[in-house]
Symmetry: C2
Amino acid sequence: MTKKEILVREALLGSNDKVAADVRRMLRQRKILGVNLMSSPGAGKTTLLERIAERLAGTHRLAVIEGDIETERDAERIRAKGVPAWQITTGGACHLEARMIGRVFPEIPSDLDFLFIENVGNLVCPAAYDLGESLRCVLLSIPEGDDKPKKYPKAFLTADCLLITKSDLLPVLAYDLEGVKREALDINPRLTVFVLSALTGDGLEPFLEYLHRAREKAAAPDA
Amino acid sequence: MTKKEILVREALLGSNDKVAADVRRMLRQRKILGVNLMSSPGAGKTTLLERIAERLAGTHRLAVIEGDIETERDAERIRAKGVPAWQITTGGACHLEARMIGRVFPEIPSDLDFLFIENVGNLVCPAAYDLGESLRCVLLSIPEGDDKPKKYPKAFLTADCLLITKSDLLPVLAYDLEGVKREALDINPRLTVFVLSALTGDGLEPFLEYLHRAREKAAAPDA
C-alpha cells in the first residue's frame, strides 16, 4: 500500500468512525440496543433473526437492517415475520459501513427495543468497520469446521459474543466444540460464548437473556 | 470512493493484472495447470485438495499455495499428504493478489502438472483478483444454503466451474440442489457444475477428469 493510499484509507475510516459514533449516540438516547451480526455466508444470521422475531413478537419492538451484495432476499424473510426491515445492497462492497447505516437511519422508528444489523456474509472485512452498534456478535457455524478462529482472528477479537450455530448438525459431524471455544477465548477472553441451533431453537434462550441484559446496560444513564 | 482513491486503486489493480499475466505465461510454458480455488471459510477447499493429493499420488506432480489471514494450518495438512505447499499469510488482507503468488513463484518446482492456489476463505473479495490461474473454481458447500449465488454473484460470474461440496449432508438438510445449479448458471451459463463430497470421495471422479482435460487444453501449443 502506498503512503497516499494509506492516507486516503485512514481518512475514509476516520469518517466511518465519526458516523458510527453519531449512530451509537442516537441509539442510546432512544434506549435501542444496536446489534451487529457478522459471519461467513450461510452461518445462519437470517434464520437466527427469524427465530428472534418470533420469540419477541408482541413483547418487544425490533427492526432489522440487512446488508448484502445483491438481492432483497433477507429483508423479505424478515418482513414475512412482521418485522420492519431495510435492505442495503452494497453492489459489490464486501462489508457494511457506518455511512450506509446513517443513510437509512432517518427511516428507522425511534421507539424500538432492538435494532439488528445483519452484515454482508464475510468473516474478514466487516470486522474492520464500526457501525455504531453497542453489541457485536460473530456467528460461526459448525459445518464451517473447528479450525476457524485462529485463521480469521479479527472477527473474534472485536466481537462481544460468539454464537456457535447449527448445533443440530453436531451429531453428524466430527467437531471439537470445546477446542473451538478454547481457541476463540484464547484470541479474546472477553467473549461470551453460546451454542445454539436457530433451526430447532435449541440454546436460543440464554442468548435472548443476554440480549435483554445488554439492552438494559446500554440504556442505563451512565452507559 | 474519491477520484484519487479510484486512481490509486486502479494503479494497484493494473499492477496485479501485469503480475498475473506473467505468472500465467510461466505456468503455460511449463505445461502446468494453475487452479485458483475460491469459497467461503469452511466450504472444504483444503479437504478437496487432500483428496486430490491422494488420488494423484504417484502419477502426477502437484504443489499447493495456501492463502490464509493467519496460521500455517492448511499448508501443514497438504504437506502431510506428501505434497509441497507454500503458506502465504496475508496478515489481515482478505484475498490473495498476484504479487503474493509472484513472490513465492521462484520456489515452486518447474516440473509440475498442477499448481493449486487455495485462496483466503471469502466468497466476495478474491473474485476481483486474477492470480495468473488458467482455471478458476468456486466452491459452495451445501450447509451454506441454497440462496447464495445471486447474493454473491461475482465469484460465480468469474469462475470456470462450480463445485457444490459436502454432498454427504444432502440427506440431513433441506436443500434445493437443482435450484442452486439453475441460479448459478443464470449468472454464468459457461459454468461447469460438479456435486461432490470431499469427505467420502463421492463425485470426485468427474472433477478429476475435468482437471486433466483442462491441463491438456492449457498446455496445448495454441492455448
